[in-house]
């Protein structure tokens, strides 16, 4: 086996290796049962890693190949040491569970601050007092106050999408090349908003926008053609 070398960020005490991304790689190496020479590197010691053509650690040197970015190192280890324990166990159900919890704990409250009053308006009259009471208790504010700063809440919502956006910039669906339940967990949030509100949640250039379009078109446009609140009449 070729010798592995890992360049790691270090403190003044070079034994102190604190970078979170280097720790991802150390755990990945341990998981695979691999040893590496570990070279400490201060922030300003860019000359030490200049050979790699870039400026950030971790960098793994595997024979003649140098791999940077902890994610690419993980993929490299998985590809080059397939007989060692996999870093990507049959974990689709547990990881989908995490995505589902993310959608429910992060996206639901962030979207609620945008669409709560839109929902209220569309409810059966008999449901409205129930909805107002339970939601005002949850938010500790009147419905009208919860949604008062729509532009600000939309901006906040877009920020919460960062991990989704960065993932979808590199793969067409959360679950990879084709959609699966992880995608639907998140897409359900967008359908909630689409059914009740005309708020512009996404910029056209957002990778999340293109992903949402793909899912609106799935299953013969089932979601796209589902009943939703009518758009405001054209005032032109």
């Amino acid at each position: 086996m070729t010798r592995l070398t890992l360049y790691e960020l270090a403190g003044a005490d070079r034994a102190l290796r604190f970078s979170p991304h280097c720790w991802k790689t150390r755990m990945a190496l341990a998981h695979k049962g691999l040893e590496a020479d570990r070279i400490p590197c201060w922030f300003t010691e860019k000359a030490l890693i200049a050979f790699s053509g870039q400026t950030l650690v971790p960098i793994l040197v595997d024979g003649t190949e140098s791999v940077h970015d902890s994610w690419h190192i993980a993929l490299h280890l998985e590809r080059h040491f397939p007989d060692r324990p996999t870093l990507f166990a049959a974990a689709a159900v547990p990881l989908t569970h995490f995505v589902n919890r993310w959608a429910d704990t992060v996206l639901v409250p962030a979207l609620a601050r945008i669409i709560l009053q839109d929902i209220y308006r569309l409810l059966a009259p008999v449901d409205q007092p129930y909805f107002r009471q339970t939601r005002e208790q949850r938010f500790g504010q009147r419905l009208e106050e919860v949604v008062a700063d729509r532009a600000g809440h939309i901006a906040d919502f877009r920020k919460t999408l960062a991990p989704l956006r960065q993932t979808l910039a590199l793969q067409p669906f959360l679950a990879g090349d084709a959609p699966a339940y992880a995608d639907y967990c998140v897409f359900g949030m967008f359908m909630w908003a689409r059914c009740v509100s005309t708020a512009d949640l996404l910029e056209d250039s957002d990778p999340v926008f293109a992903w949402r379009e793909r899912l609106l078109d799935a299953f013969d446009g089932m979601a796209r053609f589902a009943p939703s609140v009518p758009a405001a009449p054209d005032m032109g």
Copy 2:
């Protein structure tokens, strides 16, 4: 095949089915190529679903079995219709990618607000001006200001852990029964903090605490025994 019935939340116009969780289930049914009778249900029409023994939709009735909670419905569909397209494709790599983006975009900045000055103190003197300048530019504040409200930032950090916490309350690792790279992506963040700071990030009762303990012990305690900042001397 038994007939499937899905109880869905509806607006005053009963055609308007807006619940995000019901949408998860609709997409899951479509993915499996399954049809269901879809029964609209207002918030206050609890009597309609009293048969199920609980009060929230979606509820899927499959023969004599009634399943509630969109997550359990997805697992039920996967188990009972294994010959249909899987809802949990071989998606471990793409989903791990999402977890990694979540750790980097959410946990890194939340932790930085707690430990940035701790890191600064441990850096080689030659690294300190570089670190201060790049981080102050990133945060638009002096280091001392970024970390000024430690108690508040720790409280915020604990809130950002909600999806992790809820997942780990039901499974020992993010990747399921055994750790995999998804766990290391997140654990790396905790090692970052542990190496440089004595801040109490987690309550002992937090499922995230127990998970962190398990990973500190992994690989013969590799992470637990890694060099880290000394605890403050005992003043007793």
